[in-house]
Symmetry: C2
Subunit: 323 residues, 2 copies
């Protein structure tokens, strides 16, 4: 029987606060451009107070992927933890309005909905500080077995390795998916996230993952190699399909003996937030529709180009479809 | 002595939810394009559920004016009522980060922070539905006498005539300002708002207002005339300075025997939300800096052009200054 969903994403449910800063702001506050840093609620408040006016967009890496994939026609579900507060309601609305099924119940008491302070520099790079809030409570019991077993692909966000209870949730989701004969995909999310959890990621990729998404710095960090070529060679032996993105240099899909190079789509870059999330969305939506790997990569490139051409991680206008 | 503030704005403190819809959405839901409709919390929830994914920006007409005026170098304060909740904290942060002094204490119990659902159609027009929430409680006791008496201009938002307690607050603010020898400015906000409160606005303009801001439909509604020319003639006898905006046809400043026509600045229009608020900000910032009326109008036109060239009511990039 055809599964009910093409993709079920699991990740940290987060609302983004986008603000424009200059490079001097990053250096004055010892921030690594392009990175995601976890901060506690108090540090997030202190940093927020220093920021210029912002705007709030629903975010979360896997949630972005889910929203974009749904906009491309995929049938999508998402699991993640928000609080029963205003930002949680915004997050829930935006997913539902994107056509994503979001059965997770909100956290009734305790931490507020997680927030990510996204600092966008004039070069369109983003530097992020995340207060996980309610997302930190996501655990094994939040893994909805019915949804995952009824989804062609389960898509796991690497960031979800950070909250302590979530690794177990991850493994449970992968186990359920594989038992139901489904595909398991993982995005490594961030080179520093890989650094924090390298051994666990390596073991997971080898034993549980069918499709690995990573950018160049993430995959070289995962395999502790110095060049993209070495990373490609390592990925080829460790995972069925590796989808490796290289910003404006395009992407490379590695599958058995095949190596498929996909050029990046031209774009006037405004804000790179969500580029990797959108690429994964395009790839997976095409994959779920039975397209060949080259077409999947092209759809990923088109989705990424749409997202980086505007503010925020979810495009306001329809994304161009591959032929 | 130089007053501490150039401008103190008073208005409905609101967070905007911006969402893109097509014209069919408006007609299916019997909405008047370009209008602002007051709705209760339940209706707002029902409408929100129908909307596509949105993004949240601090809004409120006078608050937008204050933020933009501060970005142009004016010393600005704002009075308005939010709740002690997440959207209230966002509103407060964005004003403070814009350099606006915001002494109003939040509403501790009761309604949440007000929200405005801003539906942007492909022609860049916006149609708004506002649930006032905590803003409805703004009253005489919220009028900070020290701040108003120490401000060269008090700027009143016409929308604030809608909450029942606010008309008295308005009058008190005008009285304090005039007793301290300050200027009182009023924006009519919306033609339907003028319809709801025509007699009160006419009396207020005649007796208390030094600078009136209105667009063509607002000023013709105020004086119940059929042409812009008749409205100009009426305004000339009723108020010291009338600043009348006509979208792409520019603006007209009427002051005693003078009539100054200001062309609109060229812009690629993305979203007209906040155009009038920004015009008032540019005008008042220049006025407070002692510029002549023509320069004030030109600064208004530059601010409006900056705001309509991007999403939202407060520009992300610096506004060009008049010479």
């Amino acid at each position: 029987m055809t599964p009910r969903f093409d993709i079920t994403g699991i990740g940290n449910a987060i609302v983004d606060v986008l603000a424009r800063v200059d490079d001097g702001f990053l250096s004055r506050h010892d921030m690594r451009k392009g990175s995601m840093t976890l901060v506690d609620a108090e540090t997030a408040e202190q940093l927020y107070a220093l920021l210029p006016p912002g705007e709030e967009h629903s975010g979360g890496s896997a949630a972005n992927t889910c929203a974009v994939a749904a906009s491309l026609g995929a049938r999508v579900a998402y699991l993640g933890k928000v609080a029963a507060d205003q930002l949680g309601a915004v997050f829930r609305h935006d997913l539902a309005a994107s056509g994503v099924y979001f059965p997770s119940s909100p956290l009734a008491h305790g931490a507020p909905t997680g927030r990510c302070l996204v600092l966008v520099t004039p070069d369109a790079q983003r530097t992020m500080h995340t207060a996980l809030g309610a997302a930190v409570t996501f655990g094994e019991s939040d893994v909805d077995e019915t949804v995952i077993a009824d989804s062609a692909i389960v898509y796991l966000e690497g960031y979800l390795f950070d909250p302590p209870a979530a690794q177990a949730a991850f493994r449970r989701a992968a186990r359920i998916a594989r038992a139901a004969g489904r595909k398991v995909a993982l995005s490594l999310s961030d080179a520093f996230c890989v650094d924090r959890h390298r051994a666990a990621f390596r073991a997971l990729v080898r034993s549980e993952i069918d499709i690995l998404f990573a950018n160049e710095s993430e995959v070289t960090s995962l395999y502790e190699v110095n060049s993209f070529g070495e990373a490609v060679a390592a990925a080829r032996t460790e995972v069925e399909i590796a989808v490796l993105t290289r910003s404006e240099a395009g992407s490379v899909i590695v599958h058995g003996g095949e190596t498929i190079a996909i050029p990046a789509e031209a774009a006037r870059v405004i804000d790179t937030t969500g580029a990797g999330d959108a690429y994964a969305a395009g790839f997976l939506a095409a994959f779920a529709a039975g397209r060949g790997l080259a077409r999947c990569g092209q759809q990923g490139a088109l989705a990424a180009a749409a997202v980086i051409s505007d503010w925020g991680a979810r495009p306001r206008s329809p994304i161009r479809r591959v032929n």
